[in-house]
Symmetry: C2
Subunit: 350 residues, 2 copies
């Protein structure tokens, strides 16, 4: 790591993810950098998403916007999980209102040849550059890096675009399990390389998004995905930063996903934190999980639901977040209010 050794205590977020006792609960929001912010919409105008991700100044600016505005306890790198795929030469475009679209979807063994290993210094130097700008600006506030999990990246590659239930990817897994496994292993290597480069450049925690894993039964997840995700988490353990694992709409996979071996599990709003703690035990921190709809429903509902959530949340090993990304229609003032609420309610008198 480039980061010099220091005697400063680790950031609040990192200590909470390590399940240490903390002076108040850290809070950040998935998709905090993005369409809910007018300053983001202004900056993005006319610039394709992946171009933003590869322009260090712009990437840094939109990453910093929500930290300045809301006073959250972490920034999260503005990027997309398909950025490393573009880095290795896959023709991918993020279409507005659709999501990532792959020009030539993966369908057969010969397609694997298109997935060469990621060399972050050569393929994605802009990401490390953006991270250096951001961390210099953030000071003591930590930056979170991230990557797409192998199954979710595979779904995009096989389907060619976002899909409701990843039918082509799951059919490939059923019909050609060895090919599908090979695809996942290569994608794990790409995610590992990307996360290593992000940590070397300065991120202090990482989150792995397995956004589509919820379409799998637990049996299929365990057979086809868990071994690969477990290797991924094992290989990034040596980086020494806390690792968060998140999927939406995957309550039925919670135990299996936790077995992949992260330090924290992101919890979607459908699963109460008390249930997550009971099912996963004390050995893993929890992140979440206010329903992203709550900030749309006015201050009174916001305070009521936030207090209820915090009352049922674990005292130790909890990072406050929404149960999924910030909805684009969210009034950013409500998010600022929410950060203040969480800080006020959880602040310890000392």
């Amino acid at each position: 790591m480039n980061r010099p050794e220091t005697t400063d205590p680790a950031p609040l977020l990192v200590r909470a993810l390590r399940r240490e006792e903390v002076e108040r609960k850290p809070v950040w929001f998935m998709r905090q950098a993005g369409r809910s912010l007018p300053e983001y919409r202004e900056l993005r105008e006319g610039i394709p998403m992946l171009e933003m991700c590869r322009t260090p100044d712009l990437c840094a600016e939109v990453t910093l916007q929500p930290v300045r505005r809301h006073g959250v306890d972490a920034g999260i790198l503005f990027s997309d999980i398909v950025t490393p795929l573009e880095g290795v030469g896959i023709d991918v475009e993020i279409k507005s209102g659709v999501g990532p679209v792959i020009a030539e979807p993966f369908r057969r063994a010969s397609d694997l040849e298109r997935l060469r290993p990621l060399e972050p210094d050569a393929d994605l130097p802009e990401v490390a550059e953006a991270i250096r700008i951001i961390t210099a600006e953030l000071g003591e506030t930590p930056l979170i890096g991230f990557a797409g999990a192998p199954f979710t990246l595979a779904s995009y590659l096989v389907e060619g675009r976002p899909s409701k239930s990843q039918e082509l990817a799951r059919a490939m897994q059923l019909e050609e399990p060895a090919l599908f496994r090979d695809l996942l292993e290569r994608l794990a290597d790409i995610a590992i390389a990307s996360l290593k480069a992000q940590v070397e450049a300065g991120v202090q925690a990482v989150q792995v998004f397995d956004s589509w894993a919820g379409s799998l039964s637990e049996a299929t997840y365990r057979e086809a995905v868990l071994p690969v995700s477990r290797r991924l988490f094992a290989e990034i353990e040596e980086l020494g930063v806390p690792r968060i694992h998140f999927a939406v709409n995957a309550g039925h996979l919670m135990e299996a996903m936790a077995e992949a071996g992260s330090d924290a599990m992101g919890v979607d709003w459908r699963t109460p934190l008390s249930e997550a703690r009971q099912r996963l035990g004390e050995g893993v921190a929890l992140q979440g999980n206010l329903d992203p709809t709550v900030p749309l429903a006015g201050s009174e509902v916001l305070e009521r639901e936030t207090r209820a959530l915090l009352a049922a949340a674990p005292e130790r090993g909890h990072v406050f977040n929404l149960g999924h990304g910030v909805l684009p229609s969210t009034d950013p003032a409500m998010l600022t209010e929410l950060v203040g609420l969480v800080h006020d309610i959880t602040e310890k008198q000392s």
Copy 2:
């Protein structure tokens, strides 16, 4: 009911839904009438969905197509859950590739006035007419009717179109629970009236689709939805036909949804039938739940997965189905093969 009393035994499907011992397992498929069939695509060409639903001859023909082709043990009325909304004068259109789009979404109390009670004889005479044609053709094969559950219909009305997580509907529930409850009660009345008319015209089982319920936490479902859905199932009990209740991606709601009081619960492919039986007990039949992806993956996978599913399925009180609708890309020959497989494997020597 118009149907004359007879001494014939009830159809296989009805007996299985009543958890009686049966000579073999009945099988039908959600969305069996639809885009997977070339004869359907040919007939549909150029005709809007809701016009099909309101043209008795066409509606009957597409309902009958999969029964003729696959030899399934039930037809399901070709319709859409928004048909009754159109019946009471809501301006709704089913847009190709999108789904139902409501011209003026519901946002406030005054919108409730647009939801007058459904009078099936006057508002939807074509549906009863179609059912009479279909049942005459089907002979001993039963026809299943259906309706959208109140929460799912409310989601369409409030969002104005299909949405990922029903954020506007759920925000309305949080902010204006009394208004949202009123909306659900009116929609329950519409569903009840529609189902009564369908049974009077000749359907022998009904399914209630709460397609979007999975976006709710169990606590919210219990508070906001369950009382209304429970009333719906209680009011249609007197019709004397088995009632199936189904939602996709709602494994976390299984117990709560079962408390609404149906005769059978549809199970999505993510929840093993053995788990569903264990969680719900013996008092309710189960319907499902082969992964709709399996018929895309070739005959060998189809037979392996079907045998595995049947080996773990309850002996009594099980109707074979997919765990969600037939995918449009499914080769219909695979579905015919699947019907034969289920019949062969479950046939009892007598």
